[in-house]
């Protein structure tokens, strides 16, 4: 990639918008995943009895079961949210960058 092309793309408002939106979004989702998992693991390490509490009196099913399943669903849903937005909005922006490159250079 030539130096002028690099400068040209960096100055492109669509490119700047893409970077700002996507970087923020990826970081937010990553933090969400890491936070949920860390809380889960640290609960196991420090307060395992919380996850061992029965869901209701007389029930053997513990809080840990829906929480554990919830972490699996959460991971899957996050990938769905990211993929949907990136394949729509972010790809549109990056196509606009490519388009303007073709027109101007």
């Amino acid at each position: 990639m030539k130096k002028e092309t690099v400068e040209h793309i960096k100055a492109n408002p669509h490119y700047q918008e893409l970077l700002a939106k996507r970087t923020g979004f990826s970081i937010k989702l990553s933090i969400a995943m890491l936070t949920v998992y860390c809380i889960f693991i640290l609960t196991i390490a420090f307060y395992p009895e919380i996850l061992g509490t029965p869901l209701a009196d007389g029930s053997v099913t513990t809080v840990g079961i829906p929480v554990g399943m919830g972490v699996i669903f959460f991971a899957f849903i996050l990938t769905g949210i990211y993929t949907k937005r990136a394949n729509g909005e972010f790809d549109d922006l990056s196509n606009k960058v490519k388009q303007s490159l073709k027109e101007d250079v």
């Binding site: 970077l19 990553s30 693991i41 390490a45 099913t61 699996i72 990938t79 790809d91």
Partner: protein
């Protein structure tokens, strides 16, 4: 010519298989006819696919990436096929059977790396790379040192993983099919060499897809059969299971004992997954970043679903296999007491398949377990062979002055060598304690491969010196701490106390890798370092937009 060699090899394999099937009858282990018939159907089908793929594999790009024409859905299924090994199917369901809730904790650890791969790795990897992750790591850094290091990390990960798979497969097949251990290892090695050398990535991908489909179907059937017994009511299933095994199976047990071990295991699983060369390589088989993202979305769905199934299967085994005299190892019970099952806890899912579906379904699940091993070792070998041919031979030795056809030939030769090596090591390690091997593979992937890959994508100040020193430090720290840790130092070498107290070194080795990379990069004032930092912007634009990316689709 190629076709004739291929047919010869197919016939040869079936000959070996038939001979083994007759000679290898263990007096205690009856030959499992329905399993062998179903396995032969699988082998026949996949060799047919390999034959078809061989005709379509003409260039290096076809060989390494199936021509880049795999769809996101197919690739997601293939990634799941790569990741759901026999060890995770039998091991996690066995852990749930043995410990209950702890099995779920373990499987969640294997899943949470995937969203992070999607948010951080998948897209830049697809946009910057061609065949291997070293393409990305060495994009703006010096080729020779970076590729040598990345290839070492890849080959170490692949070989360790292969040893674990080969030994596990030999034992499993011995138990399931009544074949001799050595014969089983040789069959796995020969079939894997056939798939990869002739069919390349295209055949490997379809073997993964078929296996993932069979494994998910079989596991779904087992889980549904278990739930049907309890009117699809989890409460009833858990109630019955706790009557047999006690209430503690519903809570976290001793799997994760102290916070340091817990975090260290989490780091190994999360960053290790993002540094496994055979997984990273799968992202080059799709056409663009859009399909790469879909791959992870589908893969996460399939893998998450699979872990939920293994959880149900583990509990199903508690209620249907535990204390069932049919599956009891009476000889072991006479010595140790309790209710040991034949073949140990890892056979819980296999016995459950018999309990819910009789001999026929047991045969099906056994064949699926065999197919699973084949698919995983094929993916591993292809990744190892690519590191040897694309990174070491083509880039380091020949300095990029080599044509695609020659490179492909080297890759095929490397596949054969790796396959033979895998067979030899599988036989050599038969009676060794290899519990540490997969953990070490993950630790190396997390401490050497992942930091270089991640920082090369996102950190503009990274230099060759920093990456090489830091990556080597990560690799060495991971290996040394595993050797000094409780599994190798105490359990294998027989010392009284471990020098390094934790089973999982990743937390320490990953931090030392990142810190060394940072320190030796920022203090690098060489002329090269300046040029490498300046090249970051152009790389970053390509990684973010796909402009100039390999095989990018035109819009």
């Amino acid at each position: 010519m190629i076709n004739r060699v291929f047919l010869f090899l197919i016939l040869g394999t079936i000959g070996v298989f038939a001979a083994g099937a007759i000679e290898g009858v263990n007096p205690e282990q009856p030959l499992n006819i329905s399993a062998i018939v179903m396995f032969l159907i699988f082998v026949g089908g996949t060799l047919g696919i390999t034959y078809w793929a061989a005709k379509r594999t003409k260039s290096a790009k076809d060989f390494y990436t199936a021509g880049g024409g795999i769809t996101g859905f197919q690739n997601g299924m293939a990634i799941a096929g790569d990741y759901m090994s026999a060890a995770s199917f039998l091991g996690i369901s066995g852990l749930v059977y043995y410990k209950g809730y702890d099995g779920l904790i373990y499987s969640i650890g294997f899943l949470v790396g995937w969203p992070i791969i999607l948010f951080m790795i998948a897209e830049p990897l697809r946009n910057l790379g061609k065949y291997t992750f070293a393409d990305v790591a060495s994009y703006r850094l010096r080729q020779t040192p970076i590729r040598s290091l990345a290839a070492s990390g890849s080959i170490a990960t692949v070989v360790l993983y292969l040893i674990a798979q080969m030994v596990g497969s030999g034992k499993l097949i011995q138990l399931l099919f009544g074949l001799q251990y050595e014969i089983a290892v040789i069959i796995v090695g020969v079939l894997m060499i056939l798939y990869v050398t002739f069919g390349g990535m295209l055949a490997t991908t379809w073997v993964q897809i078929i296996k993932a489909f069979l494994l998910l179907s079989g596991a779904t059937f087992m889980a549904v059969a278990v739930m049907a017994h309890y009117n699809f009511n989890f409460g009833q299933l858990f109630a019955h299971a706790t009557e047999l095994k006690g209430i503690e199976i519903m809570s976290p047990g001793g799997l994760v004992s102290d916070p340091i071990s817990a975090i260290s295991l989490a780091v190994a699983l999360m960053f290790g997954t993002a540094g496994l060369p055979h997984i990273l390589m799968r992202f080059f088989t799709v056409s663009d970043a859009k399909e790469a993202r879909k791959s992870v979305f589908y893969a996460t769905g399939f893998i998450g679903y699979f872990y939920i199934l293994t959880f149900i299967i583990g509990f199903g085994a508690i209620v249907m296999v535990f204390q069932n005299p049919q599956y009891l190892d009476m000889a072991k019970q006479a010595v140790d007491g309790g209710y040991p099952i034949l073949g140990g806890n890892n056979m819980a899912a296999i016995h459950l398949s018999h309990a819910v579906g009789g001999d026929f379904f047991l045969g099906f699940i056994s064949a699926v377990a065999f197919a699973t091993i084949l698919a995983v070792v094929s993916g591993l070998t292809l990744a190892g062979a690519s590191a040897i041919s694309h990174d070491l031979y083509s880039s380091v030795i020949k300095k990029g002055k080599v044509d695609g056809i020659t490179e492909m030939k080297v890759s095929k030769a490397a596949t054969v060598v790796l396959g033979i090596l895998a067979i030899i090591m599988g036989i050599a390690f038969e009676n060794q304690n290899i519990a540490f091997v997969v953990g070490l593979a993950f630790a190396i992937a997390a401490s050497a491969n992942f930091p270089i890959l991640f920082l090369s994508m996102y950190w503009s100040k990274l230099t060759t010196r920093g990456a090489v020193i830091g990556g080597s430090v990560g690799l060495a720290t991971a290996v040394i701490l595993v050797i000094l840790g409780p599994i190798v130092w105490v359990d294998i070498l027989g010392n009284a106390e471990a020098i390094f107290p934790y089973k999982y070194p990743a937390l320490f080795s990953v931090i030392s890798a990142f810190v060394s990379i940072w320190f030796f990069s920022i203090t690098d004032t060489s002329h090269n370092a300046k040029a490498e930092r300046e090249a970051f912007e152009a790389q970053y634009i390509r990684s973010q937009t796909g402009i100039g990316a390999e095989g990018a689709s035109e819009h």
